[in-house]
């Protein structure tokens, strides 16, 4: 059946989008953690 192509496409799209967003979340988290560490450093540095 030709329709299998569409079913496969649907699942591929779904997983690509979900994994893709999960990866984006990971990258955002990394950037924000760096920002967090930077801000803590600045605060403890300025406390002198």
């Amino acid at each position: 059946m030709r329709e299998w192509r569409f079913v496969i496409a649907a699942y591929v799209v779904t997983w690509v989008v979900l994994i893709g967003y999960a990866v984006r979340l990971f990258l955002v988290n990394r950037r924000v953690t760096a920002l967090h560490d930077e801000s803590v450093r600045v605060v403890s540095g300025a406390a002198r």
Partner: protein, 242 residues
């Protein structure tokens, strides 16, 4: 959460550990649900195997609406309590909701093509979802173009509340519009052999939603706290620049 300078690190570390369980769990649960649904469903007479697309399309749609509901409630809570955390939750839910809504639309299109030979049908639900997507996009654009945090929170909350209120109105008007010019009927989604497969996938998607929103929210909280820390330091040092 009262974040003192030292204690701030600890809660975030704990949160990240809890999240990382979900981070590995959601793909496992989702795959399990999809395998389960495939295993128990018989090939459908009319739609061949296309019904299986419903196992991703419908849960994505349901959870997109759940996201929007979270935006709605958080927006109301923000305007009521003026607690920034509600604003950050609303923003996180809106971002995840936009992704799920876009996914719903694409999957609806993929389903429509072999069924009716066209990439888009002005089906009431799909059309309403398209409008919902644009409302989400408007919300996110407003946030992107508003830099001042307090103003951004207030404005987003107002836009989120009005947008959410419009969703049932949009759906009703599109449905009446469709019944007047009726051509095709909407796809039925819940016939009994498929119901369990659908429920399993709906729950799996809900777990995905929870993981995405909580992770996005944690990042938003951390970012906001870092900003505030830097602002406070700059003020305390009398203009010292980080």
């Amino acid at each position: 959460m009262e974040a003192t300078m030292d204690a701030a690190r600890a809660p975030e570390v704990t949160r990240r550990t809890r999240f990382s369980i979900l981070a590995w769990l959601w793909p496992v649960v989702l795959i399990a649900a999809q395998v389960y649904a495939f295993a128990i469903s018989p090939p459908d007479r009319d739609m061949g195997d296309l019904q299986k697309i419903m196992y991703v399309h419908v849960p994505a749609a349901w959870n997109a609406f759940i996201s929007f509901f979270i935006v709605f409630i958080s927006s109301i809570l923000y305007l009521w309590k003026r607690d920034e955390r509600h604003d950050l939750l609303a923003a996180s839910a809106a971002e995840v909701g936009a992704v799920l809504t876009a996914l719903t639309l694409v999957l609806g299109s993929i389903w429509g093509r072999p069924t009716w030979g066209v990439w888009w049908t002005w089906d009431a639900r799909l059309t309403s979802t398209a409008v919902l997507f644009l409302i989400f996009v408007g919300y996110l654009s407003l946030r992107a173009f508003t830099d001042e945090p307090e103003r951004r929170a207030r404005w987003s909350a107002a836009v989120g509340i009005l947008g959410a209120m419009n969703v049932p109105i949009v759906y009703m008007s599109v449905r009446w519009w469709r019944t007047l010019h009726q051509v095709q009927s909407s796809p039925s989604t819940v016939d009994s052999p498929y119901a369990w497969g659908l429920r399993a996938n709906a729950i799996a998607f809900l777990i995905v939603l929870i993981y995405f929103v909580r992770t996005r929210y944690a990042a938003a909280r951390m970012e906001r706290e870092a900003e505030q820390r830097l602002d406070a330091a700059a003020l305390a040092a009398g203009g010292y620049n980080a």
